[in-house]
Symmetry: C2
Subunit: 529 residues, 2 copies
């Protein structure tokens, strides 16, 4: 009964999608095999779900629906899906928290090269039924694999499934009474599968590093040959020097090399954080203060920069009970189990701030105010919409440069922003040199495409970052939107090595194809034109 309903839903989907005429049989057979292998509640074939999984957070493109979403509940489920995908040569895309920004988990367009950047707004929002034509695809959701398998409190470790979010892990640890937490804080809702996939970070990277540090110790991974490996085997010691760590291949692989089904993560002691903030006459003086704070070994956890425009948005949204000066502002956090320690460090910070022309440091009086300040920082993304009012859309850029080049980046990109006529407020993980300019825009009445200045400005920022010895992707990964910069940034040799590894791990090119690197050199060549 459930099956026949599913089958008729499938037909509806299939008739809806343009690929049917191209190669209906393989995907139809694969879907039928999935239906035989899984109970109906583990499969989604309805248009609504397929569309939801076909659209990225913050994307304004029409959805790119897969043929089916499978909700895995175990490693065995993942193996089954891999085997069916390989057998029928169907594109397979793992997905966890769906918070990625660069099109990481979207089914590929049916045509090569993709007719348009899948993330940049095409503005066809209002035609609700419209979708982008996609290649027949199975999306494999790991979000139901959301168990915390073990907490090894003495060892500062947890073993989690890929659908566990960093926030839910931290909530669970608190509930269990452990004074431990996972300190990397990317987007709210991000889950470990995707966090490993993208290899990003958040506001705590100054103190704790990124996902690429030693937070992920072992991973169970399903390979495209159906093998289940554990990159550290049975081991979970804090250190290991047993050859090259194959787990590192999957960090930042954006689901293109294997499917992560469990992870051993390291935890940090949960200690109080104290927030403070101040503002400076210029970005250059803010950078100078930050370099001194880091260089003095004062061990801040977070060092964030917001420019005057960002602060204006925060003031408009009344994110804090007081108004801030609309000038380059540094928000910072220090942590220690001992309040005296933080206070001594903050005294030194006050001196450094004064020396660099900053206003007097405003230090949170208590935990509540610290939380309030950091909450305001995290809500800044939303507040900036008030800067241009209703209908505001955002393209969030993500470059990173050596901190010695950061002031130059901001200054030179200011000219690009001015030239574009757009607003692009800055929120930066300044301690890491990671600058997000949020390009704000609206669609004019009757227009379906974002103004061309938006994509043009984003491209200028990426290229400027590479020119300044930086990267086009500080923490959001590559997906489909940044592939075009990789040859310039990493060089042909490194790109070629990535391609060789991809071919070795996924010889049929079925696993999240076209993410991070183009599927073929021809496609890359054509994308330039």
């Amino acid at each position: 009964m459930a099956e026949s309903r599913a089958t008729s839903r499938l037909s509806a989907i299939l008739s809806h999608l343009p690929f049917v005429s191209a190669a209906p049989s393989a995907i139809e057979v694969a879907v039928a095999e999935l239906q035989a292998a899984f109970p109906a509640e583990q499969l989604s074939l309805d248009v609504k779900t397929l569309k939801r999984f076909g659209q990225s957070w913050g994307s304004f493109s029409p959805p790119a629906p897969a043929a089916i979403v499978v909700h895995a509940e175990s490693t065995a489920d993942v193996v089954k899906v891999v085997n069916i995908a390989v057998k029928h040569r169907i594109t397979l895309i793992p997905v966890a928290g769906k918070t990625s920004l660069e099109g990481q988990f979207l089914p590929p367009s049916c045509c090569n090269p993709p007719s348009a950047d899948t993330r940049l707004p095409s503005g066809k929002l209002n035609e609700e039924e419209q979708t982008v034509a996609t290649r027949p695809t199975i999306q494999l959701s790991l979000a139901r694999m959301d168990k915390i398998i073990a907490v090894h409190a003495q060892d500062g470790q947890a073993v989690v499934q890929p659908g566990v979010g960093w926030q839910s892990l931290n909530e669970e640890l608190a509930e269990l009474g452990h004074k431990l937490f996972f300190p990397i804080d990317p987007a709210p809702g991000a889950q470990f599968g995707g966090m490993v996939g993208v290899g990003g970070s958040g506001t705590n990277a100054v103190g704790y590093g990124t996902m690429r540090a030693e937070w992920i110790q072992g991973m169970e991974v399903v390979l495209m040959n159906g093998e289940v490996i554990n990159t550290r085997g049975k081991g979970r010691s804090r250190k290991s020097s047993t050859g090259w760590d194959t787990g590192r291949l999957f960090l930042g692989s954006e689901g293109t090399l294997g499917i992560i089904t469990s992870l051993t993560v390291r935890l940090a002691p949960l200690i109080p954080l104290k927030a403070a903030l101040t503002s400076f006459p210029s970005v250059a003086s803010a950078v100078s203060a930050v370099v001194e704070i880091i260089g003095a070994g004062l061990s801040p956890t977070s060092l964030e920069l917001l420019d005057g425009t960002s602060i204006r948005g925060m003031n408009l949204a009344e994110l804090l009970p007081y108004k801030l000066e609309e000038e380059p502002t540094v928000m910072m956090r220090f942590s220690s189990p001992l309040e005296e320690v933080v206070n001594v460090a903050l005294d030194k910070v006050k001196e450094i701030v004064a020396k660099n022309g900053g206003r007097p440091l405003r230090v949170a009086r208590d935990d509540k105010e610290s939380t309030k300040i950091w909450g305001a920082r995290k809500a800044q993304y939303w507040s900036q919409q008030l800067l241009i009012g209703e209908g505001c859309r955002t393209l969030l850029t993500d470059i990173c440069v050596p901190i010695s080049r950061l002031a130059e980046f901001v200054e030179r990109s200011e000219l690009d922003v001015a030239q574009s006529g757009l607003l692009a407020p800055i929120v930066a993980h300044i301690g890491d040199g990671n600058v997000h300019r949020a390009i704000l825009y609206k669609l004019k009445e009757g227009e379906v495409e974002a103004p061309p200045e938006v994509a043009k400005l984003a491209s200028k920022l990426s290229k400027l970052a590479i020119e300044l010895e930086g990267t086009c992707a500080g923490e959001h990964g590559i997906g489909t939107t940044k592939r075009k910069y990789l040859r310039e940034e990493l060089g042909a040799g490194t790109l070629n090595l990535m391609r060789r590894i991809k071919a070795e791990l996924d010889p049929l090119g079925l696993l999240n194809p076209g993410k991070v690197i183009y599927e073929t050199l021809e496609e890359e060549e054509e994308s330039k034109t």
Copy 2:
């Protein structure tokens, strides 16, 4: 003139080595091509040098000489050597500081499987002319590539060649007046090429992580196809999320996947360290105190354990001006730019120590005493020789377990040690769970092989570590001596993935073959018997 001398020296070597009759032509031609391509001062063909490069630090086996050592002075030199080795199918082994312990840079034995563990003492020390028969091999020394190419002080980065040592980098930084240092402190004399190759650590891993953290940001690598890549391209931003980081493949690869010719390393602010020490009634109570110190977020830099036997050696050597109690002793370091901060943390440590039954904490009164204490810790390795007197030899083991299993490891291995009749004092990076037992022994008059109990005890320790969810190699790598444990520890799937990556990067199997993983599955199988 120089050439003819070199050629006659070559003939002398060749006549000396047992491989000549097997396949003289390929190596002879390769050596001749190297002589044509390099000035004589970049080539070593003399028996003394070949023997020196054919023996590992702490190894008592007869030397395993290569046919030639090439001293590279540039990336172009490395490319030339790679191309000649590939053209003539000659085994090629990169080597830097020669401080590795597991046979990492030794030429492979001419026979497969190797007749004996290359590191375990065969005791044939006194027959000076005797060597182990080796496969025709080029050793490529990177030790002359010892330039610090750039220091980016504001960014906390240096660009170094692989022959730069961590100590010489730190000395140079101090001379240049930078308040920065590279915090990972493996063996004295270790150079960056090998440090990346082994992926180890040292006494500072509690505070700074290991070589596998984010200390190595980009690497220039020569691949076996002669390509020179830079794993981060032109970028040197602190963070990057541009796909999987190919540089991670070379970390821990022990020179088997590519040859590193320059590295961008991250530096830490140089801040004062304060040392303290105390002892406990048992290893279990020491572990309990250490877990509490870490869990409280007191951010120690180092947490080291020495057992009563190790302390006895230190006392005998008078490494400190006072005698220490011969019981499990924890030596620790805390760092901060602000002395008050360290003092506040140490007050808390004193409480934790007392609570766990430790003796009153002895805190260094000044920098000089801190340096003295840490110097004693570092000299401990030598002092233990006094425990059994002249002729003492050491097999240094290197297991790592989750800290929650450390007391159990020590307790159970104590029984193995007792059973062996040997002395095996402990020095452990206790904060990481990394335990070195130094197995001490002597050769009896007329004996040429180490007592069989030595190898037997080492093997028991490795197996016990794996049983306790640990690893056979905490920081010294695998080389040839630990390969036999990898299948049990990492599992067949992970080992197979390593093998596939090796085959992709070095399809001819010429680059440091048989290190980390066996050259063939057959060889692995035979090694069991």
